[in-house]
């Protein structure tokens, strides 16, 4: 059967690509130990893609306003860590196979947490549900904080860490994307979308709204849990502070910025938002010249796009004589340039500011926040809106089979 051929081929293709990437990254690290953090960035990027796509299932596809996704991430991480610490020594599996066990353990634990929160979603709507999910995350975090056997505020060490697990992270991300994508192509997925659009109408059409919501919460949080478990095993240390509210907000932002409901959007926004805070690191900490150049170019490109959009909007919104319009645009652009130069000079003149060593952590968050606000102001419906067109078009253009092969 043709479909099976396509399916098996795409699974093999995925595996080859993932392991190819893994070996490439390992080669990079072997060559230059200082590139280790790039490997780490790749792992974190993969995890955030998983988190964003799985939250998109709850938030974007099913329309349940959940803003506490980090709590499921956390439950998975602690479950995986406890599992490894207690069982790894006495079981026969190798470190690679163990990753599957850990991910599964994290997924199950987080899935149960998802079930509990999902049951609340039956009675609460909108902002109220949002604040309950947020509260749930805080409660879990504070409970862990107060449990000495989970390491309390110092965090939990995982003795048998596995810092060569990029491939597992990538497979998880691909699996998550594939599952959500597949779902949306079947009537089951339509039922999820219908619940997002109108609960009353969908239940009148025979959709079991309860079941859909709870399923969405369970599946979405299970993926987040698996991601958490892999994070724990990769890092070897997890602390409650890794899963603070701002992580939830970051994930939520990825979903909204990508366009609620759009899987492609979530993936791209996750990569974008994840990488934005890393640029100042290059710029401020004086990385290698190519890094500084690359980062500056990227940042410049973003700024350019943003300003072009802004200017375009002023053009679109202004209905008046051509002359004033041109003057305005010139004014905006010129003002911007003069402003930047002035600001730079002023900063350079004030000795405190000129010699100040910037707090990189804070600088990157500021960077993130500004990008967030500006992007929201320019394109509030998110990069992709409800659409998936980028993906589908690309697939059609390449005459590729059905997207979303599955390595299980």
């Amino acid at each position: 059967m043709k479909i099976w051929v396509v399916r098996i081929l795409s699974i093999i293709g995925t595996l080859v690509a993932v392991f190819g990437f893994e070996f490439f990254m390992r080669g990079l690290v072997a060559q230059d130990q200082s590139l280790d953090y790039i490997y780490r960035l790749a792992v974190l990027a993969g995890l955030f893609v998983t988190l964003a796509v799985s939250l998109n299932l709850i938030n974007g596809i099913t329309g349940q306003f959940s803003i506490g996704h980090a709590s499921f991430y956390m439950v998975g991480a602690y479950a995986g860590a406890t599992l490894t610490n207690s069982l790894y020594k006495i079981q026969p599996l190798g470190p690679e196979t163990w990753l599957f066990v850990v991910a599964l353990g994290g997924a199950v634990a987080a899935g149960i947490a998802g079930l509990i929160v999902g049951l609340h979603s039956l009675r609460l709507k909108g902002d109220y549900l949002a604040i309950v999910t947020l509260g749930f995350g805080e409660i879990i975090r504070i409970i862990v904080f107060n449990q000495p056997f989970l390491g309390g505020s110092f965090g939990l060490n995982i003795a048998d860490k596995n810092d060569k697990s990029l491939w597992a992270v990538l497979l998880l991300a691909i699996l998550c994307i594939a599952v959500c994508r597949n779902l949306c192509q079947t009537p089951h997925g339509l039922a999820f979308l219908a619940v997002r659009e109108d609960e009353v109408a969908s239940s009148a059409m025979g959709v079991n709204v309860t079941r859909v919501k709870v399923t969405a919460f369970i599946v979405g949080s299970a993926f987040a849990g698996a991601a958490g478990a892999l994070l724990g095993v990769y890092d070897g240390l997890i602390t409650p502070d890794t899963f603070r509210m701002d992580v939830s907000f970051l994930i939520l932002t990825m979903v909204v910025l990508g366009g609620t409901g759009s899987i492609t959007g979530s993936v791209i926004a996750a990569l974008l938002l994840f990488s934005i805070p890393e640029w100042p690191r290059f710029m401020v900490e004086g990385g290698k010249p190519w890094q500084v150049t690359g980062a500056t170019l990227l940042a410049g490109a973003i700024c350019l796009i943003v300003s072009v959009y802004l200017v375009k909007r002023t053009i679109d919104e202004y209905h008046g004589p051509q002359r004033t319009k041109t003057l305005r645009i010139v004014g905006i652009v010129g003002g911007g340039i003069i402003g930047t130069v002035l600001l730079g000079t002023v900063f350079g003149l004030i000795p405190v500011l000129a010699n100040r060593t910037w707090d990189v952590g804070a600088l990157r968050m500021v960077f993130l926040a500004v990008t967030l606000i500006v992007l929201m102001l320019i394109r509030p419906q998110g990069i992709f809106g409800h659409e998936e067109f980028g993906w589908q078009k690309a697939m059609k253009a390449l005459r590729f089979g059905k997207p979303g092969a599955n390595p299980t």
Partner: protein
């Protein structure tokens, strides 16, 4: 389960300490209420969770701090030969500056971040709010003085306490304690007579040894009696400054009530709260109402910020607004978001609940209790305590 419940084993409930904790809770609750009012008012008119409200509070704290510095209340200033003295005017200046700065910040945020998003989906505005909140937090970390800061304690001129005894210990017990402590004192004097201080045991006469023995017995007895007297009597100690804080919060709330119920602006606010669309169709200047709402709400947060950091002495960091903001928001939801008396009720309840958690000895869970209450309440009354939960008509 065992492990989870283990902290419950260490519960301590000293009922004599309860009134004190309740009073503490109500006092801090008034601050929560002030901040919760800002959340509730904004939600009422815009249906937006103003995540940046906690950061407005944080800015209010710094405004108060800088004002106090400008008036000479710095660490070095306090060590100067003639340190500045504080009085009610100092406090009023700080309060005013803090409220003014906060209103300005609030209105600016509304104008430049929220207004352009008004016709967009609510989640988009929410994300913008989160963005503003992050920007203020980390921008603060970049530009504001590093490390945590405290307003000098001397800024608060009302540091003396008043003590309120709610229940006296029984007279007989008190009498017993008095006799015991007299006997103890007598034994002490006798011992001092018999043996010079610092004398070795071997140098003591038998009588002195006996007196020493008796003294240690008497000390134990009088100490235990003192503890009994303390346990039997119930009293509350309050710093005068905190009472002033509470009173000021009440006054501000009464003023707010007056504005909302008696003025034209208040009427417009209530109209927008009730139905944004119709209100604007009926000629209410919605933009102006929203500006006023942000102005008033932020000013209240500023007042809360100044009083919290002056009278409660809470440390100021660029992230001070996060925890407090979340708590105040929960308080607002608890009372029924969009409902002004609800916010006050929720704030006070929140303060009391927190101090009760501390009272039973679970202070590690202090920050979680807000959410536990919230979830429980929402499950039974989805609209909050005073809010209404309208059923959707089909």
């Amino acid at each position: 389960m065992d492990v989870l419940l283990s902290p419950l084993a260490g519960l301590q409930m000293d009922f004599g300490a309860l009134p004190q904790q309740l009073v503490n809770g109500i006092l801090i609750g008034s601050i929560y209420a002030l901040i919760a009012l800002g959340y509730t008012m904004v939600y009422g008119v815009l249906r937006l969770i103003n995540f940046a409200h906690g950061e407005v509070f944080m800015i209010g704290c710094y405004a108060a701090l800088f004002t106090s510095w400008a008036m000479g209340f710095t660490a070095t200033g306090m060590q100067a030969a003639k340190p500045p003295t504080s009085n009610i005017v100092t406090l009023l200046i700080m309060l005013f500056v803090s409220m003014a700065v906060c209103s300005l910040v609030g209105v600016t945020i509304e104008r430049f971040a929220y207004r352009p998003m008004r016709n967009q989906s609510r989640i988009a505005s929410l994300i913008t709010a989160i963005g503003v909140s992050l920007l203020l937090q980390f921008g603060g970390q970049l530009f504001l003085p590093p490390l945590q800061q405290n307003i000098q304690a001397e800024v608060n001129p009302f540091r003396d306490t008043i003590s309120l005894t709610l229940r006296q210990a029984p007279a007989s017990l008190k009498q017993e304690f008095k006799t015991a402590s007299l006997a103890q004192k007598a034994a002490e004097e006798r011992l001092a007579e018999l043996a010079p201080p610092g004398a070795l045991t071997s140098e003591l006469s038998p009588e002195a040894l006996e007196v020493r023995e008796r003294l240690s017995e008497l000390t134990i007895k009088s100490n235990s009696l003192r503890a009994q007297v303390n346990d039997a009597s119930v009293f509350v100690v309050i710093q005068k400054g905190k009472l002033i804080m509470f009173a000021a919060a009440l006054v501000l709330m009464i003023i707010l009530r007056h504005i909302v119920l008696k003025t034209a602006t208040g009427r417009a606010m209530r109209a927008v709260n009730h139905d944004f669309q119709s209100a604007s169709l009926m000629g209410v200047n919605v933009n102006r109402v929203i500006t006023y709402t942000f102005m008033i709400g932020s000013a209240l947060a500023g007042a809360g910020a100044m009083m919290n950091s002056t009278f409660e002495g809470t440390a100021i960091t660029p992230f001070a607004g996060v925890a407090l903001g979340v708590k105040a928001f929960v308080a607002a939801v608890l009372g029924g978001i969009g409902n002004i008396p609800g916010a006050v009720l929720g704030g006070i309840l929140m303060g009391v609940a927190e101090s009760l958690v501390v009272w039973v000895g679970l202070s590690g869970y202090k920050d979680a209790i807000a959410f536990v209450i919230l979830i429980v309440i929402l499950l039974f009354r989805p609209g909050g305590l005073l809010g209404s939960s309208a059923v959707e008509k089909v």
